[in-house]
């Protein structure tokens, strides 16, 4: 059960990696990177979850000690917030590069956009 959740999260990661390496379309590669980003964020939240946990926000009438006994881990959530922002920044830059590449080559196909040899 619990292993299943992790394995599914890893499957999303692998689907994204597959898109990045195997697909020949810039849009598909960006989509793959988004999927990898989702899977990573999910993994972080999963490792911080505790069964029956509440959000780490103090509500009225609750003592901090009670919160500490019941809430899920706030640190991975703070990390994920940063990671989501990184994902947005990367998406914006990728879209800009995609627009320019399309303007230069008239296609999203990376096999046609291949002057450089690695």
């Amino acid at each position: 059960m619990s292993t299943g959740i992790y394995i599914l999260a890893f499957a999303v990661l692998l689907a994204g990696l597959y898109a990045i390496v195997a697909k020949k379309n810039i849009v598909k590669i960006i989509v793959g990177l988004l999927a990898v980003d989702y899977a990573l964020n999910l993994m972080l939240v999963l490792v911080g979850y505790r069964t029956g946990g509440t959000p780490p926000i103090l509500v009225e009438g609750q003592t901090p000690a009670k919160l500490a006994a019941a809430a899920v881990d706030p640190l991975p959530q703070a990390m994920v917030l940063t990671s989501i922002v990184i994902g947005l920044g990367l998406t914006a830059l990728m879209v800009a590069l995609g627009i320019r590449l399309y303007e230069r080559y008239g296609t999203f196909d990376t096999n046609r956009i291949r002057r450089l040899r690695g």
């Binding site: 619990s2 849009v27 780490p56 103090l58 000690a65 830059l93």
Partner: protein, 200 residues
Amino acid sequence: MGMEYLVLMLLGVMLAAVLIAVETRDLLSSVIAIGAAGFALSVIFLLLGAPDLAITQVVVETIALVLLIRLIVTRRDTTGETETPRDALRTALVMLAGGVLICGVYFALAGGPGKGTIPPFGQPVLGHKAGDEVPPGASADYLAKSAEQTGAANVVMAVMLDYRAYDTLGEATIIFVAILGTYAVLRRFGRRKETKEPEQ
């Protein structure tokens, strides 16, 4: 327990959406499918006790979708996908690496307790007692002391902007860098005309 099944089901939806996004030929469908996966993710965040992340994920997803649709909406890719033998080889290699990774993950998860494996879902280090081999870590302190030490009721924000505010400075800088990079890439001309084609 019921909630875990809900999470599992939503994860299944997410995986299906990602697979559709990766495999469909139509780029617009692909982008919309990845958007669906993102929204499913935000519901999962909500279920896992992370409302901050759910809100952020929804709004970021919306903006990202607008950007992606901007990218494809006026640009038709008339070419089909061109596959070469080299690509097929790469795909095979990636599948192999993926298999190795999955095996690694399985062993990292299922070695049984006390064998250096990832703790099972729902039992994080946070739940440990103070005398355990691995103590509960910094998060227990955050939960117990943030109201007293920082005065913020939302512990995630207390971590983000007080205990680990330096990371958030980095985060603000990342979005700054990415946007500057977008401007740099979108300049009409990178080089000045007169030196671009010299003496011709």
